[in-house]
């Protein structure tokens, strides 16, 4: 596996890991406290609202 492919694999895995983390955060929202932080800040419904 050459260096370029290694970088690509690392970037794709990092992106997939980030999405997995966001997915878990969204699932936690469904169980979270009633005054939780909304969608996690992605849509503008965070603490400033």
């Amino acid at each position: 596996m050459d260096v370029q492919t290694l970088i690509v694999v690392a970037l794709v895995l990092a992106a997939a890991g980030y999405l997995l983390g966001r997915w878990r955060k969204t699932l936690a929202l469904a169980r979270g406290p009633k005054d939780g932080p909304g969608c996690g800040g992605g849509c503008g419904c965070g603490p400033e609202h």
Partner: protein, 725 residues
Amino acid sequence: MEVAEAGAIPASHAPSPAPSAHGGGVLHVALIGNPNTGKSTLFNALTGMRQRVGNYSGVTVERVEGRYRDAAGRPVTVLDLPGTYSLSASSPDEEIALGVLLGRAEGLDTPDVVVVVLDAQNLERNLFLATQVLELGLPTVVALNQVDAAAAAGIKTDPIELTLELGVPVVATVATRGEGLDLLKQAVSRAVDLPRAERKFDLPPEAAAALRPVEACLVAGGLSASAAAMEALRLLAVTQLGPHLAGIAGLEAAVERARAEVEAAGLSPRSLEAEARYGWIAEVADRVVTRTATGRRSMTDRVDAVVLHRVAGPLIFVALMALVFQSIFTWSEPLIGWVEGLFGALGATVAAAMPPGDLQGLVVDGVIAGAGSVLVFLPQITILFLFIGFLEDSGYMARAAFIMDRFMRSVGLHGRSFIPLLSGYACAVPGVMSTRTIESPKDRLATIMVLPLMSCSARIPIYTLLIGTFIPPVAVAGVFNLQGLTLLAMYLLGTLTALAMAAVFKKTLMKGQARPMIMELPPYRLPSLRGLALSVSHRASLFLKKAGTIILALSVVLWALATYPKTEAAPGMDEAAAQEAQLAGSVLGTLGHAIEPAVRPLGYDWKIGVGIVSSFAAREVFVATMGTIYGVGAADESSTSLRDRLRAERHESGAPVYTPLVAVGLMVFYVYAMMCMSTAAVVVRETGGGRQGLKWAAFQFGWMLALAYLAALLVYQGGLLLGFG
């Protein structure tokens, strides 16, 4: 500013002191008033930073308490009751306020003194609550607040005259500047020793006679005679007695009999209290209020006479929205072309600078073509929120809510449902959370169920990509153009369908009675540039953040799925065919071909099918997916505009994949489909959590997806039959 004055109690009234229910030398004060009277500002001015925030027992209504010491050094605790327009006890907030004043709130005794905060600019409306509080027979002080703003609007209220009319001390205050606070504190400290106010108006004799058994019942249940009289009159108009009266024997039957007797006398049980109170209030206002200038309020009134007109109001609203949507296209087109050119040049530069290979493909086709295709819509998002900010800050949005209230009630929803629905235009998540203000659980559930139909900002990239690419910018009726009207049609389609579905839910699964809404209409004003800039930059930064995180990461993953496994080009295959074969053989291509039979009846090919599936995470991902797919599948890198690539896309037969009919069908699909994980998660939580929440979220996802599919099918197949293909 007027010098703050305290009204005087006539000497003829002998004091009738009442011992503190709490003892311990601490004076317990409850602060009550309509929303927007400056009540919380007054509370902060009285108590400084010495506050404690908690919840009332058993409910999520916030309980805020603070302390100060009066001139004699006696500690005074102040309880800031929720803002309420009346003591009708029809929402959790009003129920709490009434329960506290009657000494029936869990963990709280009857307050020693009640301070009623009145907005001097809206005295008549504020006096409704004040007269109800006075009749409870508790030591009461009235804070006539915002007298400076009232004076600027040409309204002057005489606190001494008002004191004589109400029979309790009235203190003029300007809470924002701390004016009148010392007098208010003095009046509070002395209020316990002053005589109690009594009802100032007489009821028709038949009504008074009909209410006597109810009053007797309430007194037997532990209420004072004056509180029982206020409660008996209030109970005539409400449908439920309220938990604070639970357990009083025979009360419900007594109220029913009283209603029947009042009706038999030719009076209306529902409006008897409002007519009696407002009749007296109008006379008092005539005596104590002087209007010296017309000022800003009359300009507001003159504009409202047109803007809130029954016929002209909705027409103005729709015309204004059409102009807004049209401007989005007209103004943003040059900017979008510029941003597209920027990303095109960036892609070409990066492609030239990097050696060919997968890393170059990831950066050019995944990052720049994927996330970049969403970023292109920043100008439109910015312009839309600039307009929304202007309409909100100018005071027009409150009028829009007022206009919509009529339609809300016609479908059986409470007027309060409109505010969460309005929030849904920005994002469904805060909209769903703000349904907590709706008192009826059935109204709340119905509102949550239809809220994602309001077109949120995540749909804008999809709408504007498809409209800008496939709907011609032709003029309509001289003033409007077809692109703006198409965007308006998408917003109206979502809104009207939300109302229609709410009507269906309210007549089937969630039956209940509609209630009127009371809302404040602020005076019109010119929005500040700073405020607009802050709100637009906040929205734009959120959009950039989402494009730079979730959408960027999804674009990278989608690029990998569209690139692997590699397919060797067959001998003699040209570059375009090789690219297409590579895409078709990838994970994304395999998935797309598997779902193609399901989307083919809607006029879509497998690539659109993949775009739809990937956008279940978030709607804008559709655009990013298209950017990535057409980036990977493009043989000619010189045309990097996604719009150009969509226009050029052909079926094997040579027919264009995207036609205006397909584009409209796809937009209709996105109007209806519930494609947002964050919204689904918050619906689970707000509909009870656990299995119950999951059940409602699944129900919502199911009916919205079914509606989206059927509507898109109807548009495409119906359009073909009519010859629009």
